[in-house]
Subunit: 383 residues, 2 copies
C-alpha cells in the first residue's frame, strides 16, 4: 500500500507533483478538495458546475449525512457518489471534528463519544467502528480515521493522553475497515484509509505520533488539529517538524487549511491534499479571492464597477457578470449572488492548485511561490 498508489513525478525541495490512484480515478496533486457537507456544495453550485471548473475531489461530512437522511439510506441508493451523481473521488471526514465541536453535548471516553444530534437532540454514540461503518455505508473513495482533535491551547498532559487514545482508535479503524471491505454488500470494497496526525503544537508528540502512523498500513497521512486558533507561524512550524517523519511514499493531507497563502506555503513544506470552507464561507460575506488579494464586493466602491470580479478570470461568474450586478444581488439577498461568488472562489482555489502543479512541472515552484505571495499579499491581502 502507499508506495504503488502515490506516484511522485517531480520533487522541488519538499514540494511534490504527484498522482494518487484511487478506485474512482487518478487525483493530480497538490489538490484542493471541495467541501460538500451534506453531499452538495453550499450556494447552489451543482456538480455540472463543479465539472465546468475542473474540480477533482469532493469532500462530504460523515456527521451531517448520518444525522440527516442517514448513511443507511445512502447505502441503499448505491453510496454517496451514486446518490449525488458525482463521478469523481469523494473523501469523507470521520465525523470526529463535528462531534467534538458540539461541546455542551458530548462525553468522551476510550470507547468513543456520546453526544446529541444538532437536528433533533437524539442521543448518538460514535466511536472508531461507528465512524468507519458510516463511511463504508457512504462508500466514499477515501475514509478518514476517527480521531480526537484537541484544542491548540490544550495542556501537554491532555494532548499526550488524547493522542494515545487517537492511536488506539486508529488501530480499531483499520480493523473495522478491513472487515467491512471484505463483506460482499459493501458499497466500495476498495475504500482507502488516511490516518490523522495530532499533537497540537507539541513537536515531540507530533513526531512520535507520525512515527507510529508510518509503521501502519495506511493510504495517506493527514495532519489534523491545525487552523484551530494557532498562528500561521505555529502552523508552518508544525509542518516543518512533522512532515519529515510522515511516510514519504504517501500523500500528506493538511485538514481544513486555509487561505491561498497558507496553501502555497504548505505545498512548499510538503503537503499534497487540502480542503477548506473559506471559499464558500467567505463568498457568503461577499469576500472574493483574486491574485491581488481578497476583495469585499459589498463595499460601495463596487456599486458601478462594470469589471468582472477578477479581470482575466475564466470562471462562469467572471465570464458573464459584473461586480456591480453581483453586488446588487448580494445586497438584495438574491441567491444567485451567493452562487456566483462561491463559483468564483472555488474556481480560484481549484485553479490555484493547477498553477502550483504547472509551476512544479516547469521546475519553478520556488519562483511561483515568491511571485504569488508578493502579489497576493502586496496590499496586506485585501484590495
Amino acid at each position: 500500500m502507499g508506495s504503488d498508489r502515490f506516484l511522485i513525478k517531480i520533487r522541488e525541495d519538499r514540494a511534490k507533483l504527484g498522482e494518487f490512484t484511487t478506485p474512482h480515478g487518478i487525483i493530480k496533486t497538490p489538490v484542493f478538495m471541495n467541501v460538500a457537507t451534506v453531499g452538495a456544495i453550499k450556494g447552489a453550485v451543482s456538480f455540472d458546475d463543479l465539472e465546468d471548473i475542473d474540480t477533482q475531489v469532493v469532500l462530504a461530512n460523515t456527521y451531517h449525512l448520518h444525522v440527516r437522511t442517514g448513511d443507511a439510506l445512502i447505502k441503499e441508493m448505491g453510496g454517496i457518489r451514486s446518490f449525488t451523481s458525482w463521478k469523481g473521488p469523494v473523501l469523507t471526514d470521520s465525523g470526529g471534528f463535528q462531534v467534538f465541536s458540539l461541546k455542551a453535548l458530548r462525553k468522551i471516553n476510550d470507547e468513543g463519544v456520546h453526544f446529541r444530534s444538532h437536528i433533533d437532540g437524539h442521543r448518538i454514540f460514535m466511536g472508531p467502528e461507528e465512524s468507519i461503518k458510516i463511511q463504508s455505508n457512504l462508500g466514499s473513495t477515501i475514509a478518514m480515521a476517527f480521531d480526537e482533535c484537541p484544542s491548540s491551547k490544550a495542556s501537554r498532559e491532555y494532548v499526550a493522553e488524547s493522542v494515545g487514545r487517537t492511536e488506539r482508535w486508529l488501530l480499531r479503524c483499520m480493523n473495522e475497515m478491513k472487515r467491512l471491505n471484505s463483506l460482499p454488500d459493501t458499497v466500495n470494497n476498495q475504500q482507502l484509509l488516511f490516518g490523522i496526525n495530532q499533537g497540537a503544537v507539541y513537536d515531540d508528540i507530533r513526531i512520535k505520533n507520525a512515527e507510529f502512523m508510518a509503521d501502519l498500513e495506511l493510504d495517506g497521512s493527514a495532519i489534523g488539529g491545525l487552523a484551530v486558533g494557532e498562528s500561521h507561524e505555529e502552523m508552518y512550524h508544525v509542518l516543518d517538524v512533522t512532515i519529515p517523519h510522515l511516510r514519504a511514499d504517501r500523500p500528506v493531507y493538511l485538514m481544513g487549511v486555509g487561505t491561498p497563502d497558507n496553501i502555497v506555503e504548505a505545498v512548499y513544506r510538503g503537503v499534497d491534499f487540502f480542503d477548506c470552507v473559506y471559499p464558500s464561507r467567505n463568498a457568503r460575506h461577499g469576500q472574493l479571492y483574486t491574485h491581488n488579494g481578497k476583495l469585499n464586493l459589498k463595499n460601495a466602491v463596487y456599486a458601478k464597477d462594470q469589471r468582472p470580479i477578477e479581470e482575466g478570470c475564466g470562471c462562469p461568474a467572471c465570464k458573464r457578470y459584473s461586480r456591480a450586478y453581483i453586488r446588487h444581488l448580494l445586497k438584495a439577498n438574491e441567491m444567485l449572488g451567493l452562487r456566483l461568488c462561491v463559483t468564483h472562489n472555488l474556481y480560484f482555489y481549484n485553479h490555484l492548485m493547477e498553477e502550483i502543479r504547472d509551476a512544479l512541472q516547469n521546475g519553478d515552484f520556488g519562483g511561483f511561490r515568491r511571485r504569488f505571495l508578493d502579489q497576493y499579499l502586496s496590499n496586506g491581502g485585501v484590495i
Copy 2:
C-alpha cells in the same frame, strides 16, 4: 403600430401561433415570461441556465428595482439587459401591483400613489409618469402601463371609478413614453408599451375599457386583475367576454396566470403572453410540475425514489439527479435543492408553451388541449 409587429401565423379558433417582433429579438407566441424580480430568477438559476432551457423572455419588477439599487444606477450600467447580461427581451411591470399590495402604506389619488418603501420606509410617490420614467431607465423591451388593480371583490361603483382613473393614467403613460423615447440618452428608444385592461368581474366595464384601449396606439393588450381571488370559471368568463373586444392585431397578455391548466385554457381563449411566480414559488415548497399533475417531493414516499422528477424530462435536474437526492437537499435546506426544483418547473412551463406552439403548428391544438388536461388533471392535478 401593432399590426406590423405581431405576425399571426396560424389560428385555431381563438388560439393563435404568432411572432412578436421586438428591438431585442422575435418572441414566438404563446410565450411564458420568466419572473426575475430584482433582475435574477429566484433559486439561484442563472441566465446561462435560462438559455439552456430555451427561455425567451424575462420579466423584471419595476418597484423592486426602484427601491433597491435603483433605476438611475441601472440606467448608468446600460439598462437592465446590459446590467443582468440577459440578451433577450425583457418586460417590466409598472410597479402598480406591488404598490397597491402595500395596503397599510398607500394613499391613492388621481395624480398617483403615495407609499413607503418596504426596505427602509422612505416616502415614495409613483404616478404614470414616474412608473414610465423608471421603466425607461431600466430600458426594458416592453413597458407596462401604470394601472390600478381593484380587488375582484370590489363594488361595481369602485371598479368603474378605478377604471376611469386607469384610462386617464394610460394616456399619461403614452405621452411620457413618447417623450422619453425621443430623448437622446434614453437606454431603449424603441421601448414598447402594453395597456392593461381592468374591470374586475364586471363584463360591461371590461368591454368598455377594451374598446377604449383598442383606439389607442399601443403595442399589446394586457388583462390585469385576474388570479386575485376569483374562481377559475370567473377568470375564463372574463377572457371569453373581453378578448373579442381587444385589438385582434396585438398580442394579449394575461398577467400573473397561472397553473398549467389555466395556461392551456387561456391560450384556447386567445391569450399569447403569460407570466407567473408559481414555478419558482411552488418549487420552494417542493412542489414539482409534471404532465401527470403536481408532485410534492417532500412526501416520504419519494425518500428512496431513484427516478428523476419526471421521466423523459430533458431539464438539467432530471437529466442528472434523482427524486431521492433532491428531496434530501430540500429536507436539509440546501440551496441546490431549490435551484434544481426551480429549474425543473421553469423548464416545464417554457416547454409547455413549446408543446402548445407545436400543436398549433400541426393544427391540433384542440386535441392537445383535451389530452393535456385529461392527463394533467387525472389525479385531481396531484400525484
